[in-house]
Symmetry: D2
Subunit: 412 residues, 4 copies
Amino acid sequence: MTRVGILTVGALGNVATIVAAGLAALRQSGAQRSGMVTELPLFTPLSLCPPEDIVFGGWDIRDGTVLQSVRGFASVNHVLPPGLLAEIEADPERLGTEIFPGVSTNCGAAIDALGTSPSRVRCGSLETLVATLQQDIREWRRRHALRTVVVVNLASTEPPLDPHSLHETAEGMEEIIARNRSDAVRAGTLYAWAAIEEGCPFINFTPSNSPLLPGVLRRAEVRGVPVMGDDGKTGETLVKSVLAPMFGCRNLTVLSWSGYNLLGNMDGEILSHPENRTGKITSKDGVLGGILGYRPHSHVGIDSVPSLDDQKIAWDFIHFQGFLGARMSLQFVWQGFDSLLAAPLVLDLVRLAEFAHRRGDGGLQPQLASFFKNPKGVDEARFNEQFGMLRDYIAGIVAEENPAGRAASGSS
Amino acid sequence: MTRVGILTVGALGNVATIVAAGLAALRQSGAQRSGMVTELPLFTPLSLCPPEDIVFGGWDIRDGTVLQSVRGFASVNHVLPPGLLAEIEADPERLGTEIFPGVSTNCGAAIDALGTSPSRVRCGSLETLVATLQQDIREWRRRHALRTVVVVNLASTEPPLDPHSLHETAEGMEEIIARNRSDAVRAGTLYAWAAIEEGCPFINFTPSNSPLLPGVLRRAEVRGVPVMGDDGKTGETLVKSVLAPMFGCRNLTVLSWSGYNLLGNMDGEILSHPENRTGKITSKDGVLGGILGYRPHSHVGIDSVPSLDDQKIAWDFIHFQGFLGARMSLQFVWQGFDSLLAAPLVLDLVRLAEFAHRRGDGGLQPQLASFFKNPKGVDEARFNEQFGMLRDYIAGIVAEENPAGRAASGSS
Amino acid sequence: MTRVGILTVGALGNVATIVAAGLAALRQSGAQRSGMVTELPLFTPLSLCPPEDIVFGGWDIRDGTVLQSVRGFASVNHVLPPGLLAEIEADPERLGTEIFPGVSTNCGAAIDALGTSPSRVRCGSLETLVATLQQDIREWRRRHALRTVVVVNLASTEPPLDPHSLHETAEGMEEIIARNRSDAVRAGTLYAWAAIEEGCPFINFTPSNSPLLPGVLRRAEVRGVPVMGDDGKTGETLVKSVLAPMFGCRNLTVLSWSGYNLLGNMDGEILSHPENRTGKITSKDGVLGGILGYRPHSHVGIDSVPSLDDQKIAWDFIHFQGFLGARMSLQFVWQGFDSLLAAPLVLDLVRLAEFAHRRGDGGLQPQLASFFKNPKGVDEARFNEQFGMLRDYIAGIVAEENPAGRAASGSS
Amino acid sequence: MTRVGILTVGALGNVATIVAAGLAALRQSGAQRSGMVTELPLFTPLSLCPPEDIVFGGWDIRDGTVLQSVRGFASVNHVLPPGLLAEIEADPERLGTEIFPGVSTNCGAAIDALGTSPSRVRCGSLETLVATLQQDIREWRRRHALRTVVVVNLASTEPPLDPHSLHETAEGMEEIIARNRSDAVRAGTLYAWAAIEEGCPFINFTPSNSPLLPGVLRRAEVRGVPVMGDDGKTGETLVKSVLAPMFGCRNLTVLSWSGYNLLGNMDGEILSHPENRTGKITSKDGVLGGILGYRPHSHVGIDSVPSLDDQKIAWDFIHFQGFLGARMSLQFVWQGFDSLLAAPLVLDLVRLAEFAHRRGDGGLQPQLASFFKNPKGVDEARFNEQFGMLRDYIAGIVAEENPAGRAASGSS
């Protein structure tokens, strides 16, 4: 039992599709591991599980197979290695197993309109739904003989969930479920709760605030289950969290920071709904104030441009003031493939969460802050300092393991 | 004697002009200190000399006064605070004192063509020239009753000076001067040597390699005189040294980094000469390899666009490779006023060099690495890590001064 | 009586301010006439009134003088020639005469909130208001001994006015005024009607749809008064109307055109109100469909960035498809000073409207289409073809005047 | 005999490869004809030869087959329709026939270094070489039963050929060939001469100046053979020739126009050689002066970025001056696939050249000016006016054919 499983929420979405295709490709020699942070030499001491040993699975509320998703992705996005699709078609099992029907409790009209099929959405009381999800995890884990299963939320962004006093404790969460208070949760909560109750690490790669509620975190700590989120930091916000500190260090006053994101995949479609967009924008915009120590005028736009599909274009215009009040500007244009940027980070998080789980570290994992736009429980918003936390974590582990020679740590 | 002097090489150039105008403005309340790093709260413990107490002076090989330079700058660059010129015209003495004639030994055809006037260029043997420069410093210092004089090289970029075995030791440098070996030095060498022999800190804000030769550094160490260089990091390279580490931390492979700089002032004119450009490009381009650990395909272009005058526009196109070989890009456009970016850093360096001098720290000052494109004696090219060296330096001094409570240091 | 007057609606706004300052500057030799289309050699045959003979005046609902406006503009936008303000301060009369109080009938909450002062807003029935405006025009014209007065609407964008059956005829318009149906007009209507009734050409430089209603146009035709609008084409839309035809001529399919406008002056503030923005966006966005013959996915964003003040930054991202379905892109960034772009066009329109008036041409003036985003009565949206209409108009006049030698016309 | 042949010089280069692949794709229903100008409704009256009836062939000095070229292109550029390669592999004959060995007379060191193989380069006197090329054309035409063969030069840019008095007349050209004066020609001359002597239209899609020498044009006129060039206008220069007139029409003074081209394919490699680059830069840079009527400061950079392969990125920074001397800017970034932009224009030119040939129009074809950066014999550099020449040409033909109803012409 050396293999590790990843169960994705939203298994037919673009990011999960590339996670599945990427795992299939990595089992071949020669596939490019660029973009996987955990392939840096820095991580060698941790002996993380090899990507070849990670098994893909998941839930989705839409019809279809992962093979169809890969085909669909490849037909509109000419970015996958030319031979990969052919290889996969020849051996579709490499993509992982069949996909479980999902839950969509209280996810909002935009997600309901995704073309979900009735047979793909589980019904029942919250208690039943959680039990079913736990059952899915158990069965799948047994079938594939997995050492650990990591659950990763890659579903579309939900509308923000309003705070509720029952969210504050694990017992409150239990009460919500027992009393079927579906207004106090969203689907994300159920997946997180089921994962933790099954002893599985849980990663929230989305901006949805429903999974990592305070009571959920308490339970994860008690169970010794690592959890982390929110919102994978893949593109524009990554650049923002790197550039904003530069202005700070040089005492240049940011007058205004306007960022516009054009994206075309389903993410773009969902985020064109104002209620779903709210969470995302808060997550992207919050970074600035945290870094600069003051809130400059700022704007974050997200617009759906269907022809871009998985491509994401972001233009940021930063107006700043220097010596004697001189006004100057920095603009950047980021052009990336959203899922190709996200998928390797998902694999990193699976590897690092599994590692933390092996060590018995439960609750939030601050060393993973650099992977998130809005790292739960971490105030530091500067990317370099966040990455330094990961460096220090590794150095600490090395030092633990080699108590004699602790000198080797810390530098890059 | 609490005042500190700054003697600039190239006192009528744009950067020195803004240093002078800035010092005049800072003596008024309300002038914007943005862009001065040493005005950050981080520096409070050092009790640096207040900018109001810095006196401006310098050498130049062209005719003219600082007042004329400020007027000329203001007439083409609409960036200075509207009232500043009027205030200065009302009290021109605030700009500092008269300018000494300079030396232009072996500076190349481009600099000779700057419109130098014979009466502004000192002649004589190297020994005579060095003695004259020392005399300038001594007199000026006495006249203004200055505690310290910091000499800052802001002259046009010289062609690179070929290495010579006599450069290696202080004695070799003495021999060069004694034997009038003018082929083995350039003007920058003479200013640096004169400053150090007079016990004055010396900052090389240009990419010229002639000032901080090994033998010059030896002498500075022995004399307890702080020196640092090369090439102030004001714009495109600053951004580069912030963005490049991001690609490294995310294991994204940089395939190509092409940067184009358009600039219009005399800097642009001088750098349109290939022999002068060489040093600059080496300095700007070297940053990448040092940060990434490999040399991607790269290109640095510098072109003169006279209509931009002091504005500098840089476009960088970064082509990179991520997961499964996906190719993506990041572009940025930097639009700054070169001299408005440089001048506050010059003031920072004067304050920090004067501080180091007060402490008796001679030779290279690695804590100042973040101010330079090519920080002498420092291998670290990542801006954040360089700035961390400055943070650590301050923390160390705080700890020295408060040996009891050393907990307060280190964080931002 | 050779002088011509311009009465501006919104006389203290940025565009009118630069019109006034520009006229003052043009009375000096040496002021840059770049940006004035009518200064091209092409216009020599028309013998337009010289800009030196144009007198500035207007209405505004805010307190203040034009001198204060110029001062305010110059203090935040470092773009006017350094000496201009000093010259104007020395002889403030060059800026034109005092400003009349205005009308703000039914202009919406955003405009009401502009800081209007009660003493600056005329009250009374529609009939009274129109009579007062006519009285203003008559008096001002007499006082300055003007051959013609051209009224130009430069006021903030109003919310769109809903169509009404009474708008269709001149008699309907009279009925609206007589019966004080203030719900069926906005301030813009009153200015236009008063101008036309006084026999004065009227230009609508704003996107507001209230001035050039069908019944207003009828009256202008009958009275022989030239009128034209809507919405001066100064920046992003100008580029759009030049680039979009290129895609058409090359049979490249535009998949998506996303444009983002950042602007900082009062225009930006007013347009941050959704009801005021509507008209502007329709005007900017309509251009594409008219040119391409199909409606690509498109988006026009307008956001207020106060620190930019009169600067306007627009980023457009155009995604297009070529041979074999290949997807490519063109981006542009426009960085202009809004009022410095608009003011010379206003002067062009005054000169050309006065010329048409002299010729007795009443009603819409299609030859002026190239000056507007949404040229009334003209279907052609391509800039070059619009400019060709102006060329043809001049050629026609030249041919009329020289019936013998008609060969000289037509080329640029 | 209804089919038309295209013989390409440089048949294994990227552009020719996409011409071949495109023709194969067009024989399938559903292939995207975007980017082919002649597919616009405007061209319907001309009854051009259908692309399905065009047969591909050519010469190259490198080893390899067109199939290998397509495969090589597809493996690095993920832009071709996913199924196309598979279809082609199933039926490679659709790509056209085998490739003839070429001539490389006097082409310069860069082209010699392309990895040419001795067996692929024809040797012999100029007379022999021309005779061999004519023989190739005759044989190929007969074998494929072609109505017409159009020869298109798609070879790498040669160094500029110095003018020679013998170039001036057709007899001089004959003398050069007869006397084997290989210093007075380059390979391009030989292909053009052979084509014309065989009565075949010739298109020079490259900036090389050796094909369309004055004596060559004379012969083409006499023989009734259409010829046209130089240098296909595919990307940055196209945008330039559309934007520059806008500044002219608005009387905005262009202060500086700096353009930087990054490209990765063999074109980039060849153009990194200064002697080959010269012709290209002249061609790209000349456009401005012709349009504006004055020469602003300008710069054209071309740099090879191998990782881009067929992608071409161009950044242009245009600094301009408006009213009262205000300085503003327009930047654009063009991101295209060079060969996907060029290939459909090549097909357009083949169709239009064949049409002109059918009509008996020999010599230069000014109606094709809009396809070229440097249209031979045409002074007009503005794209819209050039395209108007094509419109007028079609209208003229329509009028000829329908002498009764000439009203239908002229508008788009």
